[in-house]
């Protein structure tokens, strides 16, 4: 099984048949291979979070089909099976922490799976390590005394301890300071390096997504504006013209040069190289 996610002609309508009826998703088609990281990008109200809820069966499609790990998400009897495979971390997950100490918080999910306490313990420790926390020093602390960034990592550990095949993170960077954002990037990169697990990151920040993703989906008002590999996106001038201010800094330079019809001399893959390119352009213009 290589297609871990298979979405066909998916549409979703909120409150159909009422004055508040709203089409949140329209005719979405998408396939994701096992081990890939998908970045789901769009503005407020584009349908990103609706799509996440459809992937783990919190919502059923109004039309079309969603298959995740081979399971049709609209079959109610299979939902328990589905939830073991798909871990969804909501926005600001630190707000939903409720246990009195960190160990019980992270152990909550595995215990509900009916695992033996020895297995629960090993999962808790592994999950805390995966989010860059030292389990031995932490497990007995109360989560309320920790900073928001650390609490968010604990909430994510709670989902990782379920060992899901697909991890969905809704705006994992939002509200973190630059240091916290970098830590979160590291956690996600490490998971990706394992190679077999899939991850979906929902974000309104294209910079984060480009730095991490294998594939990118851009949603706009419920429609899929773009779906493909990062390299394809960077070739697509039409799409980029609308989102160029959201690109990482070095790509903003590349795009701005392309848009002015300047040929760039070499592959620019970081900001230093972009700066050298600019210097070269100045000196060649002075020379003429």
């Amino acid at each position: 099984m290589s297609n871990i996610i298979d979405i066909k002609d998916l549409s979703y309508v909120y409150l159909p048949g009422t004055p508040y009826e709203q089409q949140a998703l329209k005719d979405i088609n998408m396939v994701l291979n096992q081990g890939e990281l998908l970045g789901l990008f769009g503005g407020n109200g584009s349908g990103k979070s609706t799509l996440a809820k459809l992937l783990n069966g919190l919502l059923y499609p109004s039309r079309g089909k969603v298959r995740v790990c081979g399971i049709d998400t609209s079959i109610k009897e299979l939902r328990n099976e589905l939830w073991k495979k798909v871990g969804l971390v909501f926005q600001y997950p630190e707000q939903q922490i409720f246990e009195a100490n960190i160990y019980d918080e992270v152990a909550y999910g595995p215990r509900n799976l009916g695992l033996k306490e020895a297995e629960v313990k090993s999962r808790v420790y592994q999950a805390l390590e995966k989010v860059g926390l030292l389990p031995e020093t932490l497990v007995n602390l109360s989560p309320v005394k920790l900073s928001g960034g650390v609490r968010r990592r604990i909430a994510i550990a709670g989902v990782l301890a379920l060992e899901p095949e697909i991890l969905i993170l809704d705006e994992p960077m939002a509200g973190l300071d630059p240091l916290g954002q970098e830590l979160m990037l590291d956690i996600i990169k490490k998971r990706q390096e394992m190679g077999t697990q899939s991850t979906i990151i929902i974000s309104h920040n294209l910079k984060d997504i480009i730095a991490l993703a294998d594939k990118i989906a851009i949603l706009e008002k419920g429609s899929l504006l773009f779906y493909g590999e990062v390299a394809e996106l960077l070739e697509n001038i039409d799409i980029l013209s609308r989102f160029h201010l959201e690109l990482p800094d070095y790509l903003q330079v590349v795009y701005a040069l392309k848009a002015r019809g300047k040929r760039t001399n070499r592959d620019i893959s970081n900001l230093d190289e972009a700066g050298l390119e600019l210097i070269q352009i100045i000196s060649s213009q002075k020379g003429n």
């Binding site: 407020n44 900073s147 800094d249 002015r260 900001l271 700066g275 210097i279 100045i282």
Partner: protein, 281 residues
């Protein structure tokens, strides 16, 4: 101290400590700072640097442990003057949901001016004015809680502007917003500062938010770590790195180009502007 200083905010040797059951945390120490009316100030710092404490000291939500905070000469720890201080100085917070209370946008914006005891015609005028300033006229009769995050933040901004404050303090107002809404809010702040001469004090942990500021104040562990124009502050990469801050890519590029002997105009605020300027040299 020499008399009452009108038209400015003064922090005189301000420290703030939070006392807990068995410990004490110093959030700000010995801050001396003067902000003149009409300035656009950016305040930058990571979590725990004291940014939000500073914001809450400015309108008297918090009182300094030692030192004095004066708004147009009025001390924030004086109960007689706090009402007038809060008319002069408006606050917008990170999460607009926390400050929106009325079922209709229009009522939300009228709430402040009505509480000032203004006649209905004047209230109406101010609602019109504030809605226009943030480009939300067509949402006048909508319900705030059904708006998008960016629209809500604009309503929160308008409801503070309707009080016609001289100073506007914004604590991470863009952190819940998508990039488009974020840019819109920042553009509105620029206009409000330039055309309506309202002082802007914008607090953020994202350097990119603060490029429009005329003066950037960098807080670290409760003290002022650096201060200057964005260009001056972002020039010193080593000093920024030492406290875990990255500078915006724009300023790395500017420095790289300037080290080759080319001068980049101070008005350049985005990478496309920089590239355009360079292509024209």
């Amino acid at each position: 101290m020499s008399g009452r200083a009108e038209n400015m905010i003064q922090l005189i040797d301000v420290s703030k400590e939070y006392k807990m059951a068995d410990s004490c945390r110093v959030a700000l120490q010995h801050i001396n700072l003067t902000i003149s009316e009409g300035e656009y100030i950016g305040i930058l710092g990571l979590n725990q640097s004291g940014k939000s404490t500073l914001a809450r000291l400015l309108n008297g939500l918090l009182k300094p442990t030692t030192g004095q905070v004066l708004i147009n000469g009025m001390a924030t720890d004086s109960p007689q003057e706090i009402r007038q201080i809060r008319q002069l100085l408006g606050m917008v917070f990170q999460n607009p949901d926390n400050q929106l209370i009325c079922p209709v946008v229009e009522e939300e914006i009228a709430f402040g001016p009505e509480n000032l005891g203004l006649p209905p015609e004047e209230v109406n005028k101010r609602v019109d004015w504030a809605l226009e300033l943030v480009g939300m006229q067509e949402m006048r009769y909508h319900a705030p809680h059904l708006l998008s995050g960016g629209q809500k933040q604009k309503v929160a901004l308008a409801s503070v502007l309707a009080m016609q404050p001289r100073y506007l303090v914004l604590d991470e107002p863009t952190s819940m917003l998508d990039p488009l809404s974020r840019r819109e809010i920042l553009e509105h702040l620029c206009r409000i500062n330039q055309e309506n001469h309202i002082t802007i004090i914008l607090i953020s942990h994202h350097p990119e938010d603060l490029l429009d500021a005329k003066r950037l104040i960098l807080l670290h562990e409760g003290s002022i770590y650096m201060q200057g124009t964005p260009k001056e502050v972002f020039k010193d990469m080593e000093k920024l790195k030492a406290i875990g801050l990255k500078r915006p890519g724009l300023y790395q590029l500017i420095q790289q180009v300037e080290e080759e002997g080319y001068r980049i105009d101070d008005n350049i605020k985005t990478i496309p502007q920089l590239v355009e300027m360079i292509c024209r040299i």
